[in-house]
């Protein structure tokens, strides 16, 4: 047993392969493992199937031409409702899509985690989600009700990427946000799950209340990446809010000539330490106010 699962972001991303199906935790512009996403931007990965409640993770991977297919219920930056690079990719027909209801998406992850081929649901019937995804079949209840359900297929992931508040080297994690979304299901649906963490411990030693913040088991975790501010520019409660100035700049880059390349050159290509310094350092990130809804 590997008691120390710590590795660098580059080493984690080096374990991914072109053509893989990669799930990315979080929700829109919240709790996204952006340090790992940026490392993917720096890599030679391509032809990925990305599975995400999409935010800037999806936009950036689309902008970088790494996405072959997107499995998603939405892509948004919330305060900036329309994600600029997702729109470009979608409107140009550059990506294949499997567009799902938010709950169907959850059901697909659950099915994968339970090693089921599908889970039944009423959701999706009578919509174009089924019409546009003919691979999704229906099934008739074997009981006397005879109801027709969608057989939501398992969304099996080759890898999942998550950002957590604390982790130890064994892969025990603590997740502290007001809402931690469906990260635990991404971990269960994946062959290999990589977590990046704000705080890295040698070994967690917890009281019972704190232990409740552990939402998935360490046997699901293949690698732990120490990445303070690793969700920036997304909202990562309770540590920091989203960086609206950065989102505005990112959004504006989509309408500039060569804007994506300029964004990459300015923020991404120099590595993560330079990124953090360019966005104002850990002190500034820690002061980003939590959003008020």
């Amino acid at each position: 047993m590997a008691l120390n699962k710590e590795l660098t972001a580059a080493a984690a991303v080096a374990q991914l392969r072109s053509g893989m199906t990669v799930g990315i935790g979080g929700w829109g512009p919240r709790r996204k493992p952006m340090a790992l996403v940026r490392e993917m931007l720096r890599s030679g990965l391509k032809d990925l199937t990305v599975v995400s409640y999409g935010g800037p993770d999806v936009g950036m991977l689309c902008a970088a031409g790494k996405v072959k297919k997107l499995i998603f219920p939405f892509v948004t930056l919330d305060a900036i409702p329309l994600e600029p690079y997702y729109r470009k990719a979608r409107e140009s027909g550059a990506i294949e899509v499997m567009e799902l209801d938010e709950g169907m998406f959850e059901w697909g992850l659950r099915a994968a985690g339970m090693r089921m081929s599908f889970l039944p649901t009423r959701v999706g019937l009578a919509t174009d989600v089924l019409a546009k995804n003919p691979q999704i079949k229906t099934i008739v209840s074997p009981y006397e009700d005879g109801e027709v359900y969608v057989a939501m297929p398992a969304l099996k992931l080759d890898a999942a990427l998550l950002h957590v508040n604390e982790s130890d080297r064994l892969g025990n994690t603590l997740v502290r946000g007001a809402d931690t979304f469906f990260d635990h299901l991404f971990a269960r649906a994946a062959e290999r799950c990589y977590v990046s963490t704000e705080v890295l411990h040698d070994k967690l030693a917890l009281d019972a209340d704190t232990a409740k913040l552990n939402s998935f088991e360490r046997y699901l975790v293949s690698g732990v990446v120490y990445a303070p501010c690793g969700a920036h520019p997304t909202y990562f409660g309770p540590n920091y809010g989203w960086d609206m100035d950065h989102f505005k700049r990112y959004n504006a880059s989509a309408t500039e000539d060569n804007g994506w390349q300029k964004y990459l050159d300015e923020f991404v290509n120099g590595g993560e330490a330079e990124y953090l310094s360019k966005v104002g350092g850990a002190e500034r990130v820690a002061k980003l106010k939590l959003p008020v809804f």
Binding site: P73, L82, D128
Partner: protein, 265 residues
């Protein structure tokens, strides 16, 4: 009546929206974006205190949370409602959401995904989000701040995201029992689904708006409700509550030029 001319159309729409949550019982009232959220909040603070509401993030609150920066205000938490729990609530049918889709058709089907060809759309929006699940599981109402034929389309919406009363979409064995579309609140009128086979009717016209004007702005034929009347103006009490819930006047930024509820005489 100088006082009533200062009431805005947005405020009238908030009051109209609040009516959709009357007599729903103990359900989660979700108003998505400013006017629906203020409508749900007003409903809870006036005629329907039994409604459950969240802080629009993850917690149930016993009192609607004001919009925007709150100063010293502390939300009054009474429970937890993460997205995981919201989905459980949706599937159990204990919710009434009001959303603002990009397109609506005569069957109440909604679209939040793309405009134009699906493979290479003219405009990509958010994606279907939770519309398929919401619409097939619990009560839904709609909010349209720009009533026009590009929203209320002639045929089907370009990508059916939320289900409606189109019989051609419902095959044998599909359970339609939980589909329950209530009101559509627009900047011209309030519509419901009370016609034959759930056909859309004009329930009330906002002050100064004619049925013909609404029909012209709609891509399909509308019916008149038998008791078609005028959408009521907010009372002083309702206006005071709205002001308290929205101290930064976000409601004033929803409609272009923030028009008054009554056109100036």
């Amino acid at each position: 009546m100088t006082e009533t001319t200062q009431i805005t159309l947005a405020e009238l729409m908030i009051v109209a929206a609040s009516e959709t949550w009357r007599d729903n019982g103990e359900v989660l009232a979700s108003g998505i974006t400013t006017i629906p959220r203020l409508g749900a909040s007003l409903a809870k603070l006036t005629h329907s205190p039994e409604l459950l509401m969240t802080d629009s993030e993850a917690f149930l609150v016993s009192e609607p949370v004001p919009l925007g920066p709150r100063g010293d205000y502390k939300p009054k938490y009474e429970g937890y409602m993460s997205f995981d729990r919201v989905f459980e609530c949706v599937w159990g049918g204990k919710r009434h959401v009001m959303i603002g889709p990009t397109q609506v058709d005569r069957w109440g089907q909604t679209n939040l995904s793309v405009i134009g060809d699906y493979a290479k759309p003219k405009s990509a929006m958010l994606g279907v989000r939770g519309l398929p699940g919401n619409s097939i599981n619990h009560i839904n109402s709609l909010f349209v701040p720009n009533h026009g034929p590009r929203v209320f389309v002639a045929g089907e919406v370009d990508m059916v995201s939320g289900v409606g009363y189109n019989p051609e979409r419902w095959g044998e064995g599909m359970k339609q029992d939980y589909l329950d579309l209530r009101l559509i609140v627009t900047d011209l009128c309030v519509l419901d689904f009370g016609g034959p086979q759930h056909a859309i009717r004009v329930k009330s016209l906002h002050p100064g708006v004619s049925f013909e004007q609404v029909q012209t702005a709609t891509g399909f034929p509308l019916l008149k409700a038998e008791n078609l009347g005028e959408t009521p103006l907010p009372t002083a009490e309702q206006l005071a509550i709205i002001q308290r819930l929205d101290p930064h006047n976000f409601r004033g930024a929803v409609l272009k030029n923030n028009p008054p509820a009554l056109k100036a005489a």
